[in-house]
């Protein structure tokens, strides 16, 4: 019996020794391979502990939305005179406004009736000095609303007399009136009103007449020369105008500015003798870009306001 137990112990020792050798070999197999490739590893399931369970809370601790959500949960709210929702923290008693819930409205720094202005367009008179054969003068009246929107009405006179060198006609358009109505938008509306950067649109209209004289037409093959006349034609024309401009204060209420226009004909009456070369207020037919240069007198409308404008403090800031 004792001998049997002793033999069993020696066999167990051998088995344990073999197991130990196998274990050491298995550990050696975990080492990086000579070729640099990683040995296969067992996947280990993540372990939840106190740190991991609070990790997302810690990461969002500085998030304003989370903070405000938490504050809303422990607050009551009411609506003030401006319709804003004001929260009252029931713990601290603080009143606060959720900035995420407020739609930011760009406030108007200047009053509705900021100023009115009248101007004279001297572009055509100046260009006529330099040889332009058409145009007379234009006047503009404009109201400045919030220093941002500027409805405008323009009226002017146009005239043309042109005998191009080397051509076979004289074009005449007597003095005619033209009108434009539209508005400008000032991009610098919250800046100093002495400087304006505007984009605008106009609809223009003019009833006018034109005639052609001193016409000479040679018909080469038949060797004949004709001198027909195109009598006065009464027509109307309407056009659109997209403008871009600047206005700068010169001195006191006087400012100057230019605008350049991209324009096109919307409607016009056609005659059997052809379309007019010049349209008062529009310019020469077929030219899509023109300009204006104005001297403007600005009249402040402060006296219409009952109380002085006080700049309001912003109320949209998050507490």
């Amino acid at each position: 019996m004792w001998r049997y137990i002793s033999a069993l112990r020696s066999r167990l020792s051998v088995v344990l020794l073999l197991a130990l050798v196998a274990g050491i070999m298995a550990l050696q197999a975990e080492e990086p391979q000579p070729d640099g490739s990683a040995a296969p590893r067992r996947r280990i399931s993540p372990v939840n502990n106190a740190a991991t369970t609070t990790q997302h809370i810690n990461e969002l601790a500085g998030d304003t939305a989370v903070i405000n959500a938490a504050r809303r949960a422990r607050s009551i709210h009411y609506h003030d005179d401006n319709g804003r929702t004001v929260y009252v923290d029931t713990i601290t008693g603080d009143e606060w406004i959720d900035s995420a819930a407020v739609i930011p409205v760009v406030k108007m720094k200047y009053p509705l009736l900021q100023s009115a202005s009248i101007g004279v367009d001297i572009w055509d008179p100046v260009m006529r000095i330099f040889g332009q054969k058409y145009g007379l003068i234009g006047f503009q009246a404009q109201v400045n609303l919030h220093n941002r929107y500027l409805p405008a009405f323009e009226i002017g006179l146009g005239q043309a007399k042109n005998t191009p060198a080397g051509m076979n006609f004289s074009y005449t358009s007597p003095v005619s009136v033209w009108f434009k109505i539209g508005a400008d938008y000032n991009f610098l509306y919250n800046s100093n009103p002495d400087y304006m950067l505007t984009v605008g649109a106009r609809y223009g209209f003019s009833p006018f007449s034109y005639s052609l004289s001193d016409i000479t037409i040679d018909q080469g093959y038949w060797q004949e020369t004709q001198h027909p006349q195109i009598p006065s034609q009464r027509v109307t024309a309407g056009w659109y105008e997209i403008s871009f401009g600047l206005r700068v204060k010169l001195w006191g209420p006087i400012s100057t500015g230019w605008r350049f226009h991209y324009h096109g004909i919307l409607h016009q009456s056609h005659t059997r003798y052809g379309d007019p070369w010049y349209i008062p207020g529009y310019g020469a037919f077929g030219r899509s870009i023109t300009g204006s240069f104005s001297i403007t007198y600005t009249l402040p409308l402060n006296f219409l306001r009952r109380t002085p404008v006080v700049e309001e403090q912003t109320t949209t800031e998050a507490q």
Binding site: N168, Y195, Q219, Y221, W222, E224, W277
Partner: protein
């Protein structure tokens, strides 16, 4: 934007405006309308090229030809008289077997003339409105008025159909 920026922008814009105010260049389409007459086959209706033709205006100074015998063409531009409401053209066939005066054809236009202001680059020319078109029918089969209002637009206004061998 500061004052200097606005002034700089103003100067640049004025320069652009001054350039933009310059005239566009050139008269491309011409001054007066001239009817373009296309030669077509009466059998197929397709445009054909003809040679050995001589076309001259009836009453033209010096009986000058608008196209000569050596020309081979599928169309001809026939200017109209502006001091009259009627212009006639004589078409002579100069091929050996056809060169006989009695085979000549005459194409006659009846029209109204209007002075027309084309543009400041082209000036004033004439437009014509063809009221009637007629021709003799020796070798011409028929004539078609494609577009009665003759302007400076380059298009076929009249089609002349000739009898051609199949």
């Amino acid at each position: 934007m500061g004052k200097k920026g606005l002034i700089s922008a103003s100067v640049a814009a004025l320069a652009v405006l001054l350039c933009g105010a310059c005239s566009s260049g050139g008269c491309i389409d011409g001054r007066s309308g001239v009817p373009k007459v296309e030669f077509r086959s009466s059998a197929t209706g397709a445009a054909i090229r003809l040679d050995s033709l001589r076309i001259s205006g009836v009453g033209a100074p010096g009986d000058s030809a608008i196209i000569g015998v050596a020309t081979s063409t599928s169309f001809v531009n026939l200017p109209l008289k502006s001091d009259s409401h009627l212009t006639a053209w004589c078409i002579s066939y100069k091929q050996k077997a056809l060169d006989y005066p009695q085979l000549n054809d005459t194409l006659t236009f009846e029209y109204d003339t209007t002075p027309y202001f084309v543009s400041d680059d082209c000036g004033v020319g004439f437009r014509y409105y063809i009221n009637n078109l007629s021709c003799t029918r020796h070798l011409i089969d028929s004539v078609e008025l494609v577009e009665p209002l003759v302007t400076t637009v380059d298009q076929v206004y009249v089609a002349l159909y000739f009898r051609t061998q199949e």
